[in-house]
Every structure is written in C-alpha cells, then in structure tokens.
C-alpha cells in the first residue's frame, strides 16, 4: 500500500527574507524512493517538513493519495506518515519496545497487538527482539539507534515515509549497511519514501528518482540516477555529480547483479591450525576464509601463519553496490566478502569483477 505525493507551487517564506522554498512542484510516484539531494541550506528539510505539516506552507497545495493535507488534522496526518531523522530522536526514557510502540499506541491499538507489532518491526530491521526489546536508547550504538528509529517510523504501517538524513550521523561502514537494509525493506514494503540527503552517492544508491535541488529548493534535475549521471542537466548538477562519474556508476550496479566467486578454502573457527595449513597446501591456495559455527565470516587465515586471524573489517550484502564492494576490497585487500540476510557467507567479489563492470558501464554510457 502506498500513496502518490504531489506538491504544487509550494512556497515557504520566513519573514520578509527571500523564500526558503520557492514555487516548488513535484510528483512523487507511489511506492518509489525519491531522494532530495542538494547542498546544505538549499531547503531540503523545509520542503520535506511541509509534507507532514511540521512546517506550514505559505502558499501552494500538497496532496497525499489525492487528499489535500491542509484539510486534515495535523496530528492525525502525521500518525499516517513515518518520520525518521538524523539523530534518530529516540525517546531516552523509553525502552526500545516502548519507542517502537508509540505510534500504534497513539492510534489506539490494543496492547497485545502493539507488542506483536514491536517484535515484528525489530525483526524487520535486524534487531533480535529478545536482546533489544528492553534496552534503553543510551545502551545502543548509533547504527542500532537508527534501526530503532526506522522501526518506529514503520510501526503503524504508514503508506508514506519521510527520512531526513537518517544515516548522516553514523560511520561510513554502518551507513552502507543501513542503506542496504533500507533497500531490502523497500523491496518488501513498497512505501512511498521521500529521502533527504546532501550525499550524492547516497542519492544514487537509494533513489528510484533523484531531485537535485539548488537554492530555494529549485529543482535543477528530476530523473533516474542513471540519467542524472549520464546527462547532468547543467553545470551545477555536473559539479554535484562531481569527478569520477564513471566510478560513481558503480553505485548503480549491485552485488547481486554480478557473478560471485567462491573462496578456494573455507575453514571453521574450531579447526586446528595444522589442519588449516594442510587443507590450504592441498588446494594450493594461500588464504582460507574462516567461518564461525553459524557460517558467518570471521577472518582470513594465511597458510604460513594459520594461527593468526586477520579480522574482516568490511563486508557487503547482495543489495550493496559495487562501489561498496570496491571499498571493502580496498579496506581488507583481496576480495570483498558477501553475506546473506542472517550474516552467513555467500561468496566473494574480486577486483576483476569490479573492473569488468566499470568497462561495461563505460561502453554503454
């Protein structure tokens, strides 16, 4: 279930200064992710917050699923629009479960139904309910807080989701993971998502369509990521796309689109170093991938020092982009390790695969 969002000639003025958002019109198709991307201060947040009426437009019309939002009660309206922001904004005095259950509670669901829904949502965002349900926000990492923020935004199954730089405050590796998760969720849920960011790579990765915004929220280009990368509308957009556009096209390719290779030798954390060395010598390989009992990758082990585990710092999933894979290769050397939904090992991406994709994309452009 999703709804189309339409903004027609929307303007927001603060006092007598030039408008923060000037005559903004856009159609956000139902079930798609549209990313507003632009430099800081260009009016992305203001534009987005007018959709759920945290900011009232000075003039113009905003409809969701054909309904004029200015005719609705703002609080009722917001309960049907998921909202996730940069610092997550979790309520520090409430447990994870209470945070996630707030909107269903506001909508008057009974306790049992709320509790079930909380479990379901935590599962959905990859947090084990038994472990996390009763924790407080301060007992979570930044990435976990963002997951709870997303779970809270989705808890009442709103058709529309607004996200304002939700992954802006976490480290790059966690951000990559959270982006992958969002893609996975969206493949399942098909919400209409408005996503605000100043990071062009993030826009290319997540957006079905990208709206590149300039000052006063002026739309410089509104198109698919492929089209924006291939044909920037003007010099400003080209500047924003930046150098290395062909490298950025790697963000258009997913790990699931390429052929994965397999590690020559996989070993278990419980194997003896001597056995590891023997398997490697038999296979004629120098590195083995070590998996734990649940087949999750743990480390690389070299034939000469089978006791020494070199931890894997960066892994990718099938939803990750080839750019993420390239980063993982550069971080860990050798190959990028690909894991499945439960963190289990599924394969490897090597540098040759990445290079072949770059060549192919360049020929097609």
């Amino acid at each position: 279930m999703a709804s189309e969002i339409q903004l027609t000639e929307v303007t927001k003025r603060y006092g007598r200064r030039p408008p923060a958002v000037d005559n903004f019109s856009i159609t956000i198709p139902a079930g798609q992710i549209v990313v507003f991307v632009g430099p800081s201060g260009c009016g992305k947040t203001t534009t987005m917050r007018m959709i759920n009426r945290l900011i009232e437009p000075t003039s113009g019309l905003i409809t969701i699923g054909g309904e004029d939002t200015s005719k609705l009660d703002p609080d009722q309206l917001r309960r049907k629009i998921g909202y996730a922001i940069q610092q997550a904004g979790l309520f520090p005095h409430m447990t994870v479960a209470q945070n996630v259950g707030v909107v269903p509670g506001l909508l008057g669901w009974d306790r049992g139904k709320v509790a079930d829904r909380v479990e379901e949502m935590l599962d959905l965002v990859g947090l084990d309910p038994a472990e996390f349900r009763d924790r407080f926000p301060r007992q979570l990492s930044g990435g976990q807080q963002q997951r709870v923020g997303v779970a809270r935004a989705l808890a009442a199954d709103p058709p529309v989701l607004l996200m304002d730089e939700p992954f802006g405050a976490v480290d790059p590796i966690t951000r990559g993971n959270l982006q992958d998760e969002l893609m996975r969720l969206q493949a399942e849920l098909h919400k209409t998502i408005v996503f605000v960011t100043h990071d062009f790579d993030e826009a290319v990765k997540l957006g079905d369509r990208i709206a590149v915004l300039g000052d006063q929220s002026r739309i410089l280009q509104y198109d698919t990521p492929e089209a924006v990368l291939a044909n920037p509308a003007d010099d400003t957009v080209a500047g924003f796309v930046g150098a290395g556009a062909s490298l950025k096209q790697l963000t258009l390719r997913r790990v699931r689109d390429v052929q994965l290779s397999q590690a020559a030798v996989t070993v278990s954390t419980s194997d003896e170093p001597a056995d590891i060395r023997r398997s490697l010598q038999e296979a004629g390989a120098s590195f083995a991938l070590m998996l734990d009992t649940r087949r999750r990758p743990v480390a690389w082990v070299h034939v000469r020092e089978p006791r020494m585990r070199r931890p894997i710092r960066d892994m990718v999933s099938r939803e990750s982009t080839l750019q993420d894979a390239l980063e993982a290769i550069l971080t860990d050397g050798g190959n990028a390790v690909v894991t499945g939904a439960r963190g289990e090992y599924v394969g490897l991406v090597d540098i040759d695969t990445v290079m072949a994709s770059v060549r192919e994309l360049r020929e097609n452009a």
């Binding site: 759920n52 945290l54 609080d75 009722q76 309206l77 917001r78 309960r79 049907k80 998921g82 909202y83 922001i85 940069q86 610092q87 997550a88 904004g89 979790l90 309520f91 520090p92 005095h93 409430m94 447990t95 707030v102 909107v103 506001l106 407080f136 926000p137 301060r138 923020g149 809270r152 935004a153 607004l162």
Partner: protein, 216 residues
C-alpha cells in the same frame, strides 16, 4: 538538667512540633512545585520570559525572611497563612529555575521526532518533555525543601507552627533554666529532619526516574 534529659522530658512536644514543621515544609514545597512548574512551562520557550521569571523569583529570595513575614502579617494575619505564603514564595526560585533548565535542555531532535510521529502538544509536554526534565525538577524541589526547613523556623515569629517555637522561646529566655537546651533542641531537630527528608528525596528520585535517564 542535661540536654538529653531535657529532650526526653519534652519528647512528645518536640515530636508534635517536628511533625508540624515537616508537614508545613512538605506541603509548601508541593504547592511551590505546582506553581513553579506551571510558571516554568509557561515561560521556557521564550528566553525573555525565562529571564524574567528567574529574576523575579531570585528577587523574592533576597528579601530577608524576617522582613517578608513581617510584611505579610498585616495582610494575612498571624499563624498559618503568612507562613505558607512565605514558604511557597521562597520555594519558587529553585523549582522555577530547574524546570526551565530541564525543559529547555530537552534535545530538539527528540521533541521534533515526537511531533513528527503525531503526538499533540500536550502529549509532547506530558509524555516527553516533563519526563525528561523530571530529574532537574526533582532536584529543584530537593533544594527548596532544604531551604524551607530553615526558613520555616522563622515562622514562629508569626506564631507559625514547628520547631521554630522552641528556638524562639529558648532565645528570648536566654540565661534562664534550660533556655540553651531548648534552642539547641529545636535547631538539632531541624537539621536531623532535613537530612531525613533529603534521604527520602534520593529514594523518590531512584523510583521515579527512568533507567534510561540514569547513569548518563
């Protein structure tokens, strides 16, 4: 008569005065909290309003308690009314100030998220802002209570209830038998009661503050 003999001799009287003293202070603190938190809620969004409220309540505190009581007696008469009025007025400052600091200190991202997911203004205030400001408000009430324990002694001057009666009687009869014992009994009583109340505040804080806010 030694001090302890004096105390055991007058035990029941001292006890009832202690009860009156504590009950006056606790009730006035609660009244001051109701007024103070209301004032804090009314002004915390406006820096100007906050500054005015803090300045006014500090100004009250600079009036010597003896003088304030003296000024209230012609208006309110003797006994409980001027005592209650003075204690509530003195209790306001720490509570108003801490309420403002507590509410203004709530992370903007948290209230934004609360509004954004559809809580109405009253909900944001009662379910989010006041809960987060509660440790600060409680600390204000604790300071107010300690202050009022001492100030309440002066209420005896306006024929108010409490251990101040002993102190005043002791001081006016200085030199006569047991005068010093009487003044000391009243003073020590107040100090002991203040410590007990302080301990109770620690317990209240522990049981009414979310675990999510503690240990930060």
């Amino acid at each position: 008569m030694s001090f302890w003999e004096f105390v055991s001799d007058r035990w029941s009287r001292l006890l009832s005065e202690s009860l009156l003293h504590v009950s006056a202070v606790v009730q006035c603190t609660i009244l001051a909290a109701i007024v103070g938190v209301t004032v804090g809620i009314a002004v915390y969004r406006s820096p100007f309003g906050s500054a005015v409220a803090t300045a006014l309540t500090s100004a009250i505190l600079t009036i010597p308690s003896f003088a304030l009581l003296g000024l209230l007696i012609p208006v309110l008469g003797l006994g409980a009314p001027p005592t209650v009025a003075a204690l509530v007025l003195y209790g306001l400052l720490p509570i108003v100030r801490n309420t403002i600091v507590g509410l203004a200190g709530v992370d903007g991202a948290v209230t934004d998220a609360a509004r954004g997911i559809g809580m109405n203004r009253l909900g944001v205030l009662t379910r989010i802002e006041l809960r987060l400001a509660w440790p600060a408000i409680l600390a204000g009430m604790r300071v107010a209570t300690q202050m009022l324990m001492g100030i309440a002694a002066i209420a005896a001057y306006a024929r108010g209830p409490g251990l101040g009666v002993e102190i005043f009687a002791g001081l006016t009869r200085a030199g006569s038998a047991n005068a010093t014992n009487q003044a000391i009994a009243g003073t020590v009583g107040i100090v002991v009661l203040a410590l007990i109340l302080d301990g109770i505040f620690v317990l209240i804080g522990r049981y009414t503050t979310s675990r999510g806010l503690r240990g930060q």
